[in-house]
Each structure stands twice: as C-alpha cells, then as structure tokens.
Symmetry: C2
Subunit: 215 residues, 2 copies
C-alpha cells in the first residue's frame, strides 16, 4: 500500500469530513486493512478478492484481520459508508454556504467533481459494488445517496424559485449533475490531461449552462 493509494482513497483536503478514517482516530491496523481492501478490490474485483488477499496486502495474518473486521463485506461496508458520508458532507457544505444559487452550485460541482477525480479508485469500487453490501449497510448507503441527490435537487429548486435557473425538469437535471460527477471516477486517471481542480472548474461551467443559469 503506497502513500499514493492512501491519498487516492481519502483525499487529505477533505480530511475533516472523514471522522475516524485518519491516523489516530482508528487503530492503525484497521486503517491499513481498509487501504489494503481498496487496493485488492481495485486489482482483482470485489468478488474475486479473499480476506487472505487483504490480510496479506496489509502485512497481517487472516486471524489478525478478523479482530478488526468479521468479513470482506464488513470492509466494503465501512469503505462505502465512510465515502458516502464524506460525499454528503461535501455536497451539503457547498449547498449550505451563503451566496446565490449559481455560486453555490458552481462550488458544489467543483468539489464533487474534484472529489471523484482524486478518489477515482475508491469511487469505482463503491459505485460498482453497491449490491454486494449486506442489506442493512446497503440501506444506510442508499439513504446517504438519496440525501446527496436531494441536496442537489433543492439547490436547483432555490435557483428556479429566485429566477436564476431555468430548468424544465428538476429531477432529471439533478440526476444529470450527480451522474456527471460520479462517472468521473470511471474514466479519470492520473494520466488524464487536466487536474482534478481544472476538471471541476470546467464541469462547473457546463452544469451552470445546463441549468440555464443567468448572469
């Protein structure tokens, strides 16, 4: 597990939004296991990864792994829940700042895009393996996703209400905004020609156009 992998997993600039993930807030062994799990899932796919693979990647025995996580699914659940909570925090922070709807939406799209570009490795796993989550954890994650989408929708509603957005179908527009950002995890790589920040800026401009933003 390299430092780059750790940075890909939970970008440091959002560290404050990720309680329990960083050193000192959770046993170092548990943190190493989470990073090893992401690395293994990314290499082999979730279903083909064994707990032994993860333990080995973390430099531990399978028995040591079970002290922290009862199963591979428990690791996936923690990765997914933590990532979705951080994403919701980021979206709510942007939507909740002072300012016009267009300014708040620009920041939301910039942050959301940048987050999915930086964390593309964990983003791909989390978005593709939702159905592998145990039922209870799936329900938690589904609720977090619902709140992310709802936050975007309400911000569009605000812009429609004050006349600064012109949107024929708010639900479809909100879906398109989140979809654009989420899909960045699929296609972005360190070899992409634009930085996460630059991509965020460009997507911010495109989304404001989609929403018919004036001014």
């Amino acid at each position: 597990m390299t430092d780059q992998a750790a940075a890909d997993l939970w970008p440091m600039e959002h560290a404050g939004a990720l309680p329990g993930v960083h050193a000192g807030e959770r046993p170092e062994a548990a943190r190493r296991l989470l990073l090893a799990a992401v690395d293994s899932f990314a290499r082999r796919g979730y279903h083909a990864t064994t707990t032994r693979d993860i333990a080995t990647a973390a430099g531990m025995s399978p028995a040591a792994l079970y002290i922290h996580y009862p199963s591979k699914a428990a690791l996936l659940s923690e990765i997914s829940r933590t990532g979705h909570q951080a994403t919701l925090d980021l979206v709510e922070n942007a939507a909740g700042t002072a300012g016009a709807p267009a300014d708040r939406m620009r920041r939301l799209v910039e942050d959301f895009t940048c987050w999915h570009a930086r964390g593309h490795t964990v983003g791909r796993i989390v978005n593709h393996e939702l159905l592998a989550l145990p039922e209870e954890d799936f329900a938690v994650v589904a609720e977090l996703r619902r709140r992310i989408e709802e936050t975007v929708r309400r911000l569009i509603d605000d812009g429609v209400a004050d006349g600064s957005f012109d949107v024929p179908d708010v639900r479809t527009a909100a879906r398109a905004v989140t979809s654009l950002g989420i899909d960045v995890s699929r296609w972005y790589s360190e070899r992409s020609s634009e930085s996460p920040e630059e991509l965020g800026r460009r997507y911010g401009v495109l989304v404001l156009r989609m929403l018919g933003a004036t001014g």
Copy 2:
C-alpha cells in the same frame, strides 16, 4: 435466460447495426451462450463467474460451451466488441445525417442515451470490465471507444465552426456528453420513472444547453 434479458442485451430497434448477433446469423447455441454470459456476469460479477455457470445458464455442458468459445474472456470480448461496434454505428449514423449540428447532436444524444438505458445490463458489464479483456481485444475496444469520442468531438467542432455552438473546451465538452450517456447504464433500471426515449429527449435538451447552442 428470458426474452427480457435478450432485449436488454441488444435492443431490437438497433438490430440492423449488430451483424451476427441475431438468430440466423450465428449458431443459436453461441447466441444462447452470449445471453447466458451477460446474465451470469450481471448476477455474480465477471471475476466470480465460471464457464460452468455460463454453460448451466445456457442449458449446456461446459464441453459444449468450449466448442463455441475457448474461455470466459472470449465471451466477454465478443459481448464487448459487438456492443461497442453497435454504439459506434449509432453515433456515426446520428452525426452523419443531414442537418444543422444542433439537430444532429440532439439525435446523437437521444439515441446514445436511449441505447444505454435499454441496454443497461450489458452496458454496466462492458464498461466495468474493460480491464478484464485480453490485450488484443482491449485494443480493438479502445479504438472503437476512441472513434465514438472523436465522432462526438467532430460534431461539436462543426457547431463551433458555423457559430451554432459556443464551447470553451471541446474535448471536455465531448467527454461530458459521452460520460452522461454511458453513466445511464449505471443508474437506469426498469423501475426508473421515465422511459428510455423520454430520458433521451431530456438529455438532448440538457446537452444542447451545455454546448451553448443557439436557436
């Protein structure tokens, strides 16, 4: 394997663009194996699926499977190549019709979106398992993807050239257009409230706005 699964795999309205896929153009057993492979990959994930799973789902013995396909990867490759070729055909058809760039782009986005909504099951597999393809097949598919993106980019160039589009960064805009459509495969399901056609129409409107289309 149900008729619905077959329809999900290769929507009939684009049948003409899929040489060899439909009954009569390829041995019925090979066709059944392709559909069974999609079904198995969707249920278990590609890596966890065995050739025995696929043969069983197709009502055949593993030995009968090997007559048609030497491996699980060969099935994935054929599904991926056929699907990407059909997508390229659809995109080139829309871009190549007579008419203003905005009209051609609207049709392209409508068809591309609708295709990914109808074929969401195969779309998810194909888009997620690119790295599981044997090297040579990956190169073929990567070239088809490059041509899809290039077709979109050239159509945007046409609109910029005649002044009907206003786009600060053509490459990013082309990426956003294809990304929006591809990601439909991730989130769309039969339970989605809008039909594939209706979603296509709505996305057509949003994309023309992104491109600053006039008129």
